[in-house]
């Protein structure tokens, strides 16, 4: 199951956590979201990107299978 968890802080700073995406899927999905957000007037300017480790991805998949 693919999931996006977004946190929007009071100052507008936003984080997008892509969970359960395989390969380049999350990069493509992130680009689609940023483009669609721009169409609605929100420019999401990347500040930091953290690539998840294989272990983190494995745990996420295991967790989503339990659910």
């Amino acid at each position: 199951m693919r999931k996006i968890r977004a946190e929007i802080k009071a100052n507008g700073k936003t984080s997008l956590d892509f969970i359960g995406f395989v390969g380049e899927q999350c990069t493509e999905e992130e680009e689609r979201i940023r483009k669609a957000m721009l169409d609605l007037g929100v420019m999401l300017e990347p500040k930091r990107i953290k690539i998840k480790t294989d272990r983190q991805i494995g745990e996420e998949i295991k967790h989503s299978q339990k659910i």
Partner: protein, 155 residues
């Protein structure tokens, strides 16, 4: 490959009329009438309405300074704690959203909080719309921090 990204948000209400080059006067008139039909402006209005409701306030179209002088603006919200109000103006050339208020007399934090709430609501409403349009089932989650909004979208 999954990842986490952190982003800074900037809001701009696109000037619809710039897509069709016109004389300066026509562009200005067109901008004034078009902007309210712009989906981005509708989101901005909704964001301000939510702030007004949450702070026991109301939506107006002017702010007042410390001397009681009124200044008209496109949208404004006055709350129980800040009756002078926080106004919103949109730069007709760039679409940049500017907040307008007189915080003299110790209202800095109160006014700033209102501007932050408007921005936060705007980003949250936009993100909900975007994720839904991409087929996600979006729910709002309870946040550990009272000042954060957490959204979870599932495919």
């Amino acid at each position: 490959m999954s990842r986490i990204g952190w982003y800074k948000s900037r809001i701009r209400i696109a000037n619809v009329s710039t897509a069709y080059p016109k004389t300066r006067q026509q562009t200005m008139r067109s901008h004034a009438s078009n902007i309210e039909a712009n989906p981005a402006f509708q989101i901005l209005k909704r964001s301000v309405e939510i702030v007004a409701k949450e702070n026991h306030g109301s939506l107006t179209n002017f702010v007042v300074d410390q001397y009681g002088s009124k200044k008209k603006c496109r949208l404004a919200v006055k709350t129980a704690k800040f009756k002078r109000g926080v106004g919103i103006s949109i730069d007709s050339k760039t679409g940049k959203v500017n907040f307008l208020y007189d915080s003299y007399g110790g209202y800095d934090e109160t006014a700033k909080r209102i501007t932050e709430q408007v921005t936060q609501n705007y980003v949250a409403i936009s993100l909900i719309r975007v994720m839904k349009s991409m087929g996600y089932n979006v729910v709002e989650q309870k946040s550990k921090s009272p000042s954060s909004v957490i959204l979870e979208g599932q495919l």
